[in-house]
């Protein structure tokens, strides 16, 4: 990044917007410079809207994606994210990053990969999933477990169908509940209920887990029951952030900086860190 200051966002343009659910939209963005972001799966950017502020957002597209643009999947929950949702194609935003430590793809290579995503947690995972798909022969078997609260909250529906049809890719979905009158033929129950459906070899499997804070505890317990070693689990954590570059202090998890050592952590490194999970 050769900006004047680590706090100066680079201008970028919204190329496309796709509505995902009532609260999530997928934004395709390209930097004014026309350069690709050059990120690792699991990294994030600081998205800036002048006059409103900044928010850290995971990059949901894979670095292997064609073209210079990248994608962010954003849930409208507050000032910046609401303002972003009000923008239109061709509007400008500011981007800083990519920041943080993403998934170490070298670690994943040659192994079977188990993706476990809860809700919006699928956003950062999708970057890695598509990376694996684009370099299919470098990885072993893959399975995706994806859970949402309700069917209306499901992200990337077209892509899920594509993933489902791929050979060598095992996709399982669940919802916590299905309101009356909504059509849902899949599993109902929390995400941990999907784990027994997949068959994996703890010796050769590596898991990437991402979801809301409470999900982790239950998922980890279940994976432990299946003898998956802690070192073979990577997870992505979220904390308040103001700078993204290890200065502002907000994202500290005990001694760890989410924006530096994370957001993707090896489970073995954080399992004993009280503030982490």
């Amino acid at each position: 990044m050769n900006r004047h200051s680590i706090y100066e966002p680079e201008n970028a343009k919204i190329l496309n917007i796709r509505e995902q659910t009532e609260k999530e939209k997928l934004f395709e963005i390209e930097l004014e410079s026309g350069e690709p972001l050059d990120h690792d799966p699991g990294q994030f950017v600081e998205l800036s809207i002048a006059g409103v502020g900044e928010a850290p957002i995971s990059i949901t597209s894979s670095p292997t994606k064609e073209g210079a643009s990248f994608e962010l999947c954003v849930r409208a929950v507050g000032n910046v994210t609401n303002a972003l949702h009000n923008l239109k194609i061709n509007d400008e935003v500011g981007i800083r990053g990519p920041f943080g430590t993403g998934f170490d793809v070298e670690e994943f290579k040659g192994r079977d990969v188990l993706f476990i995503g809860g809700g919006l947690g699928l956003a950062p995972l999708r970057s890695l999933i598509n990376y694996v798909i684009d370099r299919r022969d470098e990885f072993g078997k893959t399975a995706i477990l994806y859970g949402c609260r309700e069917p209306c909250e499901i992200l990337y529906e077209d892509e899920l169908d594509q993933w489902d049809e791929m050979t060598n890719m095992d996709l399982h979905q669940t919802v916590d509940r299905c309101p009356e009158g909504v059509c849902w033929e899949g599993n109902i129950g929390v995400i941990t209920t999907l784990i027994p459906h997949v068959d994996f070899d703890p010796d050769t499997t590596i898991a990437a887990v991402c979801g809301p804070p409470i999900m982790y505890r239950f998922v980890m317990e279940e994976l432990k029951n299946r003898n998956l070693p802690d070192e073979q689990v990577f997870l992505s954590l979220e904390r308040r952030m103001k700078c993204g570059v290890g200065k502002c202090g907000h994202c500290q998890i005990d001694g760890l900086y989410t924006c530096q050592e994370g957001p993707v952590f090896n489970y073995a490194d954080v399992k004993d860190v009280e503030e982490a999970l």
Binding site: R3, H4, S5, I6, Y7, E8, P9, N11, S48, A50, G51, V52, G53, E54, V77, G78, T81, E92, G94, P213, E238, R239, R240, K242, C243, V245, G246, K247, C248, G249, H250, Q252, I253, D254, G255, Q260, E274, E275
Partner: protein
Amino acid sequence: MISKEDFEAFVERLVKEDHREVVGVQEKGDKFVFDELKAAKDLRLDYDVTILPPKKYFMPQRETLVKYKVKDGHKAVNEITPRIILGIHPYDLEAIRQMDKVFSDTYEDKNYLKKREASVLVGVNIENVSEWCFAGSMGTSTIEEHYDLMLTDIGDKYAIEIGSEKGFELLDEADVMEASEDDISAVKKKKEGVKEKFEKKLDLPPEELPILLERSYGNTDFWKEHSEKCYSCGSCNLVCPTCYCFDVKDFNELTLDEGERIRQWDGCLLEEFAIVAGDENFRENRYQRYRHRFMRKGRYIHDRFGDIACVGCGRCGSHCVPDIADPTEIYNDLKEVTK
């Protein structure tokens, strides 16, 4: 060496003639602060401690990082006032050394570093010790590097040690004389003497803090008990020379087409420090926030940068209204209970 008279004349000249802003320690009521010098006679080199550390000149309380025009995107801003800062105590110099490290680590924070570069640091050895200070225990009551000039009051004159090219150049205009053997030993005696003056003391060598803190992290009762009266006011963070957390906010003009993104000092003791959208608070309890500060000072920063991030200035203890923030008390108590 410089006589006090000549020193005052020298400072007066700086105030009047130097293109840089000259700041120094001055009285505010019955306390002291670093502030712009209007006249050399206002400089008080015999102060005990200032309310805020000189950090405010490199990382101001409120600082514009970015200006934006809604139509033109963002522009980085760094308002730099070149300064000569007079009268920094050794512990504050040590803190500045640590901050330099933090702000140049991985991503260089030019807002800090450029302001830092544009400053000349003139230190002074401690004459009067504040009742809360425990620099003696932290090894920061004197310092041999990381200043441009260092003054020591020896009666009717100041001894001047030169720490850098910048410092040397500053002295260009001063009526200085060569130090005698006596002068040198007087300075030495002064530096030795100050170590004895601190009433507050740590009962353990600071190097042991990381381990002590690691062991007592889980002693929830201890932290709860000590933080019961905590207001979550963040005063202990805000006055600390080694605290650097900040918040960032956008402020628009009423015309709505332009504005500024500013950073403002923040503190991990404040309730909303770790809260995210949806109101989840990752450090919800008072004791967790209270504990975090001590962990950060004595352990986390050490793990990252190798420094104990407390220089023993005692400001946190003296500014805590319920009187629960004094590090010596906490660390000494911890040592007691973790025996």
